[in-house]
């Protein structure tokens, strides 16, 4: 069974009396351990696909199964549980909480899965060391460089040991050298067995994946291996 299975999925937004089909009857399967890049210009619907797969949203029509959970008609609570347990997000803008230090930021998902405080901090510290932030534990995001912030975000995505990591333009706010280092981390994660879904508009970044899916106007127009 596929880790991610979208079957005939559409996402329709109602703007005024106009119907906008952000996604139009998409079929997409991603197996465990894959490194997939979703590529397309802005407004193509690639973010919408990512939000659906990332359980931030539900499809208007069609069937969606993520990690064995049928989520086509899921409640916000069910979606939240899958996001918490099975999925890690890495965003372009890092999306860290500026008032919290590195450890507190990393442990955030564990708070919502009810892990006791001592265990939480222990695990957060361990993951922080793994991403190379062992000496920055009590700093806050504003005191860190962009690359360090993205490492915090990756550590946060990893802390609950999810099956899938979604990365939305993870290098968009970084200089190219730092960006390469971050992409290198995704390679390592994929090698260690995580499924990686990378959303980008940059073909050169997409080229680092094993499988590229190109989306345009709500349709999958091309699929190839770089």
């Amino acid at each position: 069974m596929s880790l991610i299975d979208l079957e005939n999925v559409s996402k329709i937004y109602q703007v005024g009396d106009q119907e906008i089909r952000a996604l139009d009857q998409i079929h997409l399967r991603i197996e465990a351990g894959e490194f997939v890049a979703i590529i397309g210009p802005s407004g193509s619907g690639k973010s919408t696909v990512m939000h659906l797969m990332g359980c931030l949203d539900t499809p208007s029509t069609g069937r969606m199964v993520i990690c064995g959970n049928e989520l086509s008609r899921a409640t916000p609570d069910q979606l939240a549980r899958v996001r918490n347990q099975e999925i890690g997000f890495v965003f372009q803008a890092f999306n860290l909480l500026p008032k919290l230090d590195v450890v507190s930021n990393i442990e955030l998902p564990l708070i919502y899965s009810g892990v006791p405080a001592a265990q939480r901090r222990e695990r957060a510290r361990k993951v922080a060391c793994e991403v190379g932030l062992g000496d920055r534990l009590s700093n806050r995001p504003p005191q860190l460089s962009g690359g360090q912030c993205q490492r915090v975000a990756i550590a946060r995505a990893l802390v609950n040991n999810p099956q899938i990591i979604f990365a939305d333009e993870p290098t968009g706010n970084l200089d190219s050298a730092t960006g390469l280092a971050i992409l290198g981390m995704f390679d390592e994660l994929n090698a260690s067995g995580k499924t990686i879904v990378l959303v980008t508009h940059d073909p050169s970044i997409a080229a680092r994946s094993r499988r590229v899916i190109e989306i345009r106007d709500g349709h999958i127009v091309r699929e190839y291996q770089p």
């Binding site: 918490n84 998902p109 919502y112 009810g114």
Partner: protein
């Protein structure tokens, strides 16, 4: 997600915006402090009234006085002998719900000290029975009260109110007044007792601080302080001869006196009954044995007096109950209106918190989005907002309690009555609960708003 974590997040959030949080607490602080102060004030009023009532003679006192009979009974009003000593005897013997009875007659007479230079004033002299001291709740300052023996013998002894004694012998301690002679009219009386000086809390305070009120005020203790009390029999024979009963001759009056003396001990003949029927009273005061049976006691009195007055309703009961009810209801009204005002300010305080919470969540949309993205359920977000609101109001409530303690101290200094505010713990508890409720309610709307945020748009929010 444990509540502890929610609290931690809440504390951190409040600490990060100290000034804003304090501002939003202000309404709660004012509400709580005014609520506690109002309750303390009304409690003080209540207790002030209660002790005042006690000093005046309490609720147990019932005064029986004559009145005009109703028009229906006017035609045979002359069948009734009026309020007589017979009534007192009957009540004493038969009214089981009445513990003390004192029939009284009053005269107005000049009172002066014997051969001394003190004042010479016209005063109300009361002929009483010893029960009077219990019914009126007198305290003896020096000497003794009048005794049954004084009444039986018609002794020429007098108990003076404190003010009267002080005016008659301005420079002498009340202890040494005992045994001195007083002229009532032209008859000499021996002072056997001087009563305590009665005053309200306020009067005591003013006296201590040396201030004297320029305004004339109704002094409920004046009657007690200016009392001149002599045995009933003495007053009757010295001053009422001829006034008590018109149809008797002077010689029969003498007989009355002996009958009167014996009336407590022996069963009288018909003729004697006639004569104690003929001694008219000015008032008759009684003490109800148990307040639990206040109404039944009044019924009992009414039935007995109906018999002695031959069905003519020419008597009436004066009780303190009506007055006390009135005081009670005014205290209740004060409490209600004060409580209402405080409650309004608590509600306003709650709205203040709601306002701040709304501002806070629109500032934190992105944070909420991030929390949702990593797995916070809508109810986690809701709970967090609610707890924050309650936390702010709880801190506000504690500050309010502190403020109310200060406020009560100030009120104690400027309090215009004897009703010193009394801090009640129910009041404190009540206002804290109310403040928490305000915090809870004010958190609901912002909390719902936050919990309903769409994670995607919340994440994109700048």
């Amino acid at each position: 997600m444990s509540l502890l974590v929610v609290f931690q997040i809440g504390i951190r959030e409040i600490a990060a915006h100290k000034f804003r949080s304090v501002l939003s607490m202000l309404g709660i602080v004012l509400g709580v402090s005014s609520l506690i102060a109002t309750m303390a004030l009304t409690r003080g009023m209540e207790e002030g009234t209660r002790t005042f009532m006690q000093q005046l003679g309490g609720l147990e006192l019932v005064t029986i006085a004559e009145k005009n009979p109703s028009s229906l009974k006017m035609d045979f009003a002359n069948l009734s002998p009026g309020l007589t000593l017979r009534d007192a005897e009957v009540i004493r013997e038969s009214a089981s719900l009445i513990s003390h009875v004192s029939p009284e007659i009053l005269i107005s007479s000049l009172v002066s000290s014997f051969g001394q230079s003190g004042t010479r004033e016209r005063r109300t002299v009361r002929g009483i029975y010893p029960d009077h001291f219990v019914i009126r709740m007198h305290q003896i300052g020096a000497g003794r009260f009048l005794s049954d023996l004084d009444v039986q013998r018609g002794a020429r002894c007098v108990v003076l109110g404190n003010t009267v004694a002080k005016q008659l012998w301005p420079d002498v301690s009340i202890g040494s007044i005992i045994g001195k002679k007083v002229l009532i009219g032209t008859s000499p009386f021996e002072v056997v007792g001087v009563l305590d000086f009665y005053q309200s809390e306020e009067q005591a305070r003013m006296r201590r601080s040396g201030k004297t009120s320029m305004r004339w005020k109704w002094d409920p203790f004046r009657v007690k302080n200016e009392a001149v009390l002599i045995p009933f029999t003495t007053l009757f024979h010295e001053f009422r001869s001829g006034a008590g009963s018109n149809e008797k001759t002077d010689s029969s009056k003498r007989n009355d006196s002996t009958e009167l003396k014996k009336s407590n001990e022996t069963k009288e003949s018909n003729k004697r009954n006639d004569s104690i029927d003929s001694i008219n009273l000015d008032t008759l005061i009684v003490r109800v044995r148990d307040l639990e049976y206040f109404r039944p006691a009044l019924d009992q009195l009414r039935k007995l007096l109906d018999i002695t007055h031959r069905g003519v309703d020419d008597f009436d009961f004066e009780t303190r109950e009506d007055w006390f009810d009135r005081v009670e209801s005014s205290v209740r009204a004060a409490r209600l209106s004060g409580g209402l005002i405080s409650a309004i300010s608590l509600v306003v305080g709650g709205i203040g918190i709601m306002n701040i919470m709304l501002a806070s969540i629109s500032e934190r949309v992105r944070e909420i989005g991030i929390r949702m993205a990593v797995g916070a359920r809508p109810k986690d977000i809701f709970l967090q907002i609610i707890i924050e609101g309650m936390f702010i109001s709880l801190i506000g409530a504690f500050l309010g309690i502190g403020a109310s303690l200060g406020l009560i101290e100030i009120l104690k200094l400027i309090s215009p009555t004897e009703n010193v505010p009394v801090l009640s713990w129910e009041g404190v508890l009540f206002s804290v609960v109310f403040a928490l409720l305000a915090g809870l309610l004010s958190g609901i709307y912002p909390g719902l708003k936050a919990a309903r945020l769409d994670p995607i748009s919340a994440l994109r929010y700048e």
